[in-house]
């Protein structure tokens, strides 16, 4: 039985298991053995350390380095403080406008058409067909999300490749007599929206499905008795009932889309005018073909995204009442 083993597998290798760190409960009775007030540190320590090193420190670094001219030319030693120069450069940079434009187009259409729109369609449809079929379709739509992104992008590249290879071209356009093309190059915006949308739709789909399934059956049945058809039911019952999940998915996915670039990087690497803001920052600051990194400027570009993210996060906290989920502990000895 598990409780005889001193170390269970899931906790193996953890430094805090040393019994002498076990805290106040080992103290002799009679003395103050009300539990060591700092025992919680034992549980929280590793998480706090990781958050401090990989979340808080980077946020600070972003803003500090954005005020320097650090780049692969200056190295890590010859840089100097340049004040707001990088931030001003963002507004005067000739490419800024184009990056903002493509980011807005990409975020807006992916969000409306797929992450919210298609997600809602999938959720409603899969809840209106037999259970097993609905489940199978939802599983199918989760495949893009769990597939290694490199494989997923390869699949799309081939789907959209030019004849005689590409599947869309071979199966649809050539038989219908249309001119074939390398579709990623010919329709780059559509390509990045499709590729991201097919992953993004599943998030909303799952959340909307559970929201729709939790609508009381009585409400659904009474609307049937009242003679509502499916479209009326969607309009008057389902949409109003899942208002909060809708808003949650919309805001959450907006932020995700603004800051994500993995798929675009693999599909076009920013070519054909698809360099969205976050990819621009990544290219400038961390990874580009020529190995010339403008860390200071890249950090300023990333800083914009960090600020947007923080604003969004504060909005979540305010509007989605997460604080209601916190309950008071009901053991006080520690």
């Amino acid at each position: 039985m598990g409780f005889k083993a001193r170390h269970s597998s899931s906790t193996a290798g953890n430094p805090v298991q040393k019994p002498n760190l076990g805290g106040g409960f080992n103290l002799r009775p009679g003395k103050n053995s009300l539990g060591n007030k700092y025992d919680w540190l034992l549980f929280m320590g590793p998480a706090m350390l990781l958050v401090a090193v990989f979340f808080i420190t980077p946020v600070i670094i972003v803003f500090i380095i954005s005020f320097t001219n650090m780049s692969s030319l200056t190295g890590f030693s010859n840089w100097s403080w340049i004040g707001f120069e990088n931030w001003i450069k963002i507004f005067t940079h000739p490419q800024s406008g184009q990056h903002v434009e493509v980011t807005i187009i990409y975020v807006f259409f992916t969000l409306i058409l797929f992450n919210v729109g298609l997600a809602l369609v999938l959720a409603i449809l899969t809840t209106h067909i037999p259970k097993a079929a609905g489940f199978a379709f939802r599983a199918l739509w989760l495949v893009p999300r769990i597939t290694p992104v490199v494989v997923y992008i390869m699949m799309w590249r081939y789907l959209m490749a030019d004849s005689p290879y590409g599947i869309f071209n071979e199966l649809i356009f050539r038989p219908l007599g249309f001119e074939t093309s390398e579709m990623v190059a010919a329709y780059p915006y559509i390509a990045i929206i499709l590729v991201n949308g097919f992953i993004g739709a599943s998030f909303g789909m799952i959340i909307f499905t559970s929201a729709i399934e939790s609508i009381s059956k009585d409400i659904m049945n009474s609307s049937l008795v009242d003679g509502a058809n499916i479209l009326q039911r969607i309009k008057y019952i389902i949409i109003p009932q899942i208002k909060w999940p809708l808003m949650f998915v919309t805001t959450f996915q907006t932020l995700s889309l603004i800051t994500s670039f993995e798929q675009i990087m693999l599909l076009t690497d920013g070519a054909y005018g698809t360099e969205v803001w976050s990819l621009w920052a990544y290219h400038k600051g961390l990874n580009n073909y020529f190995g010339q990194f403008q860390w200071g400027f890249g950090m300023a570009l990333a800083g914009i995204l960090v600020i947007i993210s923080i604003v969004f996060c504060i909005l979540y906290l305010k509007f989605f009442k997460f604080s209601d989920m916190i309950q008071e502990p009901k053991i006080e000895t520690l």
Binding site: M1, G2, F3, P29, S33, G35, E328, T333
Partner: protein
């Protein structure tokens, strides 16, 4: 083990949930905490166990102050309402878990488990997973787990409320007998007055964080110190009515609505008579007849099996009374109620304290 609570107060955030609870429990005594839900009885129990800290006040076991002792050092056994069995362990492991933590030898654990299991009548179940046991069996395991470490104090948090009615009555007497045989001090939290009355040597009645009374079951029932105790204990509940008292020729009379006036026997006459008085009389102390007494309408009859509860009404005022079946009374009958004035209670309407018992 003796237990005493001295001025125990408990605040959750800024809300006071216990107000200066004072309580002495003798060695081997069985004390019940009785009260409606949210009255603070479970909180008190958890403070005794060491799960909660008292905001102020002292907890003493024998003569040791245990405020700062962690639960495991208090030498207590506890039985929970939900049993709180470790569902991933079998019966033997559940029983001997505390012994294992004390690093007892395998032989000691086997012996203790065997003894305890036999006492609880679960000797044949030691190898079973607890999830495969019935409610009654789980209850016995939970009790055995509390008893196996031979605690100085047993704590029960509504342990029978998840059992069906028949099993509950059975376990009631069984727990009482085991506690009596072992001579272990016990505190038993319940909202069921029959459990409290039938099991406890003394009952602490609590309401809204205040201890209303702490006395033997018969005194709690017959000499309620507050209006709350009077109405909470006893089934069906005591009838309460607003009255005025007046003295005349050395005798005291109670004036009921409708101009009726009844003489109070000396042993039930309050020494001090405030302006507003409430009179209480238990249903069993009202006699329904057709000839003598106050005239009432029979409003409703509720058969309970042993007795029929009869609710009578006059001018919007209702009395609950009892009658043995076969009484021939029907709804809308005109009846007369005779009061057993030797059993009435009087309370100050403002302080809700008894005018007869302190």
């Amino acid at each position: 083990m003796r237990v005493s609570l001295e001025k125990i107060t408990k605040d959750f955030r800024k809300v006071r949930v216990l107000q200066e609870i004072n309580l002495d429990i003798k060695d081997g005594e069985f004390v019940a905490f009785l009260g409606p839900s949210g009255c603070g009885k479970t909180t008190t129990l958890l403070i005794v166990s060491g799960i909660y800290k008292a905001t102020s006040g002292l907890i003493k076991f024998d003569d040791t102050i245990v405020n700062k002792l962690v639960p495991k050092d208090r030498n207590i056994g506890m039985v929970f309402q939900s049993y709180a069995l470790y569902s991933h362990m079998n019966v033997y492991q559940n029983l001997t878990f505390s012994l294992m933590l004390k690093k007892k030898s395998k032989q000691e654990m086997d012996k203790a488990a065997k003894e305890t299991a036999e006492m609880m009548g679960i000797g044949h179940l030691l190898g079973r997973k607890v999830g495969m046991l019935s409610g009654g069996q789980q209850q016995r395991v939970a009790l055995g787990r509390a008893l196996i470490k031979k605690p100085g104090l047993l704590l029960f948090d509504e342990p029978l409320s998840n059992l069906d009615a028949r099993l509950r009555i059975h376990m009631r007497s069984e727990i009482k007998k085991i506690q009596h045989d072992l001579g272990t001090t016990a505190i038993y939290v319940t909202h069921d007055q029959i459990e409290a009355m039938s099991m406890a040597d003394r009952i602490a009645v609590m309401n809204e964080g205040i201890m209303q009374a702490y006395d033997t079951p018969s005194n709690i029932h017959d000499k309620p110190r507050t209006l709350f105790v009077a109405t909470f204990v006893g089934n069906p509940p005591m009838n309460i009515l607003d009255v005025t008292l007046k003295k005349e020729n050395g005798k005291t009379y109670v004036n009921l609505s409708g101009g009726l006036s009844l003489e109070i026997p000396p042993e039930r006459t309050p020494e001090f008579i405030p302006e507003k008085v409430k009179m209480g009389i238990r249903p069993q102390d009202l006699e329904i007849g057709k000839k003598e007494g106050l005239p009432y309408n029979v409003f409703m009859i509720e058969p309970t099996g042993r007795d029929d509860v009869i609710i009578c009404e006059n001018k919007g005022f209702r009395f609950t009374c009892l009658a043995t079946p076969g009484h021939n009374i029907k709804e809308d009958d005109k009846v007369k109620l005779a009061f057993d004035m030797g059993k009435v209670q009087f309370f100050d309407a403002d302080t809700e304290k008894s005018l007869l018992w302190n």
